[in-house]
């Protein structure tokens, strides 16, 4: 029930932002389409903690901010290395422990790693992620597991 309400709220906010028309008729049609989509999702059986990750919401802003900083930092780093050419890179492939067994957490971790320039998740099997890094430093950073710890904290709270 909590997830159904969360999904409905999310859809309603999305509709209000995207439409920009607040006449009674369009509002009613919008509400109708939200209800229809929620009903469809329930019938499909895809409404769960994975598709509507409400438990992440309180800690999401902090994580987003931290990830944003990482993205800015590595963007500058990778851009300067691209200008300096082959001499500035030292590609490595490393295998790391994801620290979380939950598919949602693993997906968040894999996406975060890929999102930061300089590291790409090449594979994800069992509880291990294969990561290709542009530099030795980047590989060491990933192996240190800071990001995996952050994702684990995002999922399960302070630990």
């Amino acid at each position: 029930m909590r997830y159904l309400l969360g999904l409905a709220t999310g859809l309603a906010v999305l509709w209000l932002l995207l439409s920009g028309h607040y006449a009674p008729l369009t509002m009613a049609l919008g509400a109708l389409s939200c209800v229809f989509v929620v009903w469809l999702c329930r019938r499909l059986g895809i409404v769960s903690h994975e598709s509507v990750p409400l438990h992440l919401l309180p800690r999401l802003p902090g994580y987003t901010l931290w990830l944003g900083l990482q993205i800015v930092r590595s963007n500058v780093d990778v851009a300067t290395r691209l200008l300096r050419g082959r001499a500035a890179i030292s590609p490595r492939t490393v295998i790391i422990d994801t620290r979380t067994h939950d598919p949602l957490g693993q997906a968040i971790l894999a996406n975060s790693i890929t999102l930061t320039p300089g590291t790409v998740t090449v594979g994800l099997e069992d509880n291990e992620a294969i990561v290709h890094a542009l530099t030795e430093d980047g590989a060491a950073d990933i192996e240190a597991g800071t990001m995996a710890r952050r994702v684990a904290r995002l999922e399960h709270g302070e630990s």
Partner: protein, 106 residues
């Protein structure tokens, strides 16, 4: 006055973003193998995209247009690494090995 400041900030962001995209393209041509080229592409995917869209937000001002731009950023931040991962994974499954590993084996 405030409009002028917003304009300057916005253009600075857009020009920096465009520069990031150019550097990214240059890097894609210059890097030795597929995987390092992916790293070059991700500079345009994240840095270039963010800078240009945030610059556009300053042009649009507070309002529905900016809300839509924020939504575009959110969706791109989820879809672009997914596409990048699909590419890298497909390459690995088809046996493309990083240049660094090849050298190590010889």
């Amino acid at each position: 006055m405030l409009g002028l400041i917003a304009d300057i900030v916005s253009w600075l962001l857009i020009v920096t973003g465009a520069l990031a995209c150019v550097i990214s393209g240059y890097g894609m041509l210059r890097m030795p193998d597929l995987y390092s080229r992916i790293h070059a592409a991700s500079v345009a995917d994240t840095g270039g995209m963010l800078l240009i869209l945030i610059g556009l937000m300053f042009q649009a001002g507070l309002g529905l247009t900016t809300a839509k731009l924020v939504l575009i950023v959110v969706f791109l931040l989820i879809t672009s690494p997914t596409a990048t991962h699909a590419l890298a994974r497909a390459a690995r499954q088809d046996g493309v090995r990083p240049a660094s590993e090849k050298r190590a084996r010889r």
